[in-house]
C-alpha cells in the first residue's frame, strides 16, 4: 500500500497550488477557489493520517472541514456579490488604492 508520506506529499502539493492561487489571482472568486483547494488538501491529509494511525477521528475532522468549507464559500460569495454590487468589479484592490497605485505608477501590481 502507499506510504503515508506520499499522500502527505500530494496534500502538500495541493495546498501549495491553492495558496499560490490565493495569493496571485487578482480576482476574489478565484481567491475563494484557492481557499477551497487548500481546505481540500487539508482534508486529504486528514484522511491519509486517519488511515495511517487507524483511527476514525481523522475522518470526523474532515467532516467538520467540509462544513466549514461550505459556510465559508456561501458567506464569501455573498460578500463578493455585495462587493460587486457596490464597486462593480471583483478586483481585490479597493478603488481608493487603485488610484493610488495608478498615481504611484506601480506598474504591474
Amino acid at each position: 500500500m502507499v506510504p503515508f508520506s506520499h499522500s502527505l506529499l500530494v496534500a502538500a502539493l495541493l495546498f501549495g497550488m491553492g495558496l499560490f492561487c490565493l495569493l496571485t489571482r487578482r480576482n476574489l472568486i478565484m481567491m475563494l477557489l484557492g481557499i477551497e483547494v487548500m481546505l481540500n488538501a487539508g482534508a486529504l491529509a486528514f484522511v491519509a493520517a486517519s488511515l495511517h494511525w487507524q483511527q476514525m477521528d481523522g475522518q470526523a475532522m474532515v467532516l467538520f472541514i467540509l462544513t466549514v468549507a461550505a459556510t465559508e464559500v456561501s458567506v464569501g460569495l455573498a460578500l463578493i456579490v455585495a462587493l460587486y454590487r457596490r464597486t462593480g468589479s471583483v478586483d481585490p484592490d479597493p478603488p481608493a488604492d487603485r488610484q493610488l497605485a495608478a498615481q504611484a505608477g506601480e506598474g504591474g501590481v
Binding site: 500500500m1 506510504p3 506529499l9 500530494v10 481540500n40 458567506v75
Partner: protein
C-alpha cells in the same frame, strides 16, 4: 506495485493536474470545471484511503453544492475573463516563494517517515461504524457544526437582502 498503489498514484496525479489547470485558467468557468474534476479525484482518493462516506460527502458537498454555487455566482456576475493584470509579477514571485516555503516545510516534516514505513495497511471505515463513532465521541462538534451552518445561512440572507434604501448601487 499493487493495483491499489498504482490506482493511488494515478488518481493523485489526476487531481494535481486538474488543480494545476484550475488555478491557472484565465476563464473562471474553465477553472471551476477543472476544480470539479480535481474534487472527483480527491473523492476517489478518499475512497482509496478507507473513507467511503467522506468520498460520497466530498462529491455531494464539494463537487456538487459548492462548485455549483460558484458557477451560479460566476454566471450571475457575468465576469468572464480576468483582465490584463493576469499574473502580476510583483505578486507572482513572493507567492511562489511562500508556497515553495510551505512545500519545503511540509516535505521536511513528512520525510522522516519515508524510510521505515512500508505502506499503510488497507482498511475501510464503514459508514455505519463511522456514524456510530461520530455521534458517540463527537456529538458536541456535530452540534456546533450544524449551528455554524445555520449562522452561515442567516448571514448570507442578511447580506444579500436588497434594502430599499441603498437600492442605488445597482451594477453599473
Amino acid at each position: 506495485m499493487t493495483v491499489y498503489s498504482l490506482l493511488f498514484y494515478l488518481l493523485s496525479l489526476l487531481t494535481l493536474a486538474a488543480t494545476a489547470m484550475a488555478v491557472t485558467r484565465r476563464h473562471m468557468v474553465h477553472a471551476v470545471l477543472y476544480l470539479v474534476l480535481s474534487f472527483f479525484g480527491t473523492a476517489l482518493l478518499f475512497y482509496l484511503l478507507g473513507a467511503p462516506l467522506l468520498a460520497a460527502l466530498e462529491v455531494i458537498i464539494y463537487a456538487g453544492a459548492i462548485m455549483v454555487l460558484f458557477l451560479f455566482i460566476i454566471m450571475m456576475i457575468r465576469v468572464e475573463k480576468e483582465d490584463d493584470r493576469f499574473f502580476p509579477f510583483l505578486q507572482w514571485w513572493p507567492a511562489l516563494l511562500i508556497s515553495g516555503g510551505f512545500l519545503a516545510g511540509l516535505l521536511a516534516l513528512s520525510r522522516e517517515d519515508l524510510v521505515r514505513q512500508p505502506g499503510m495497511t488497507v482498511a475501510q471505515a464503514l459508514p455505519q461504524v463511522f456514524g456510530i463513532h461520530l455521534f458517540r465521541d463527537h456529538w458536541l462538534a456535530i452540534e456546533i457544526a450544524s449551528l455554524l451552518l445555520l449562522i452561515a445561512l442567516v448571514g448570507v440572507l442578511h447580506l444579500s437582502r436588497r434594502r430599499r434604501a441603498d437600492a442605488i448601487e445597482e451594477a453599473p
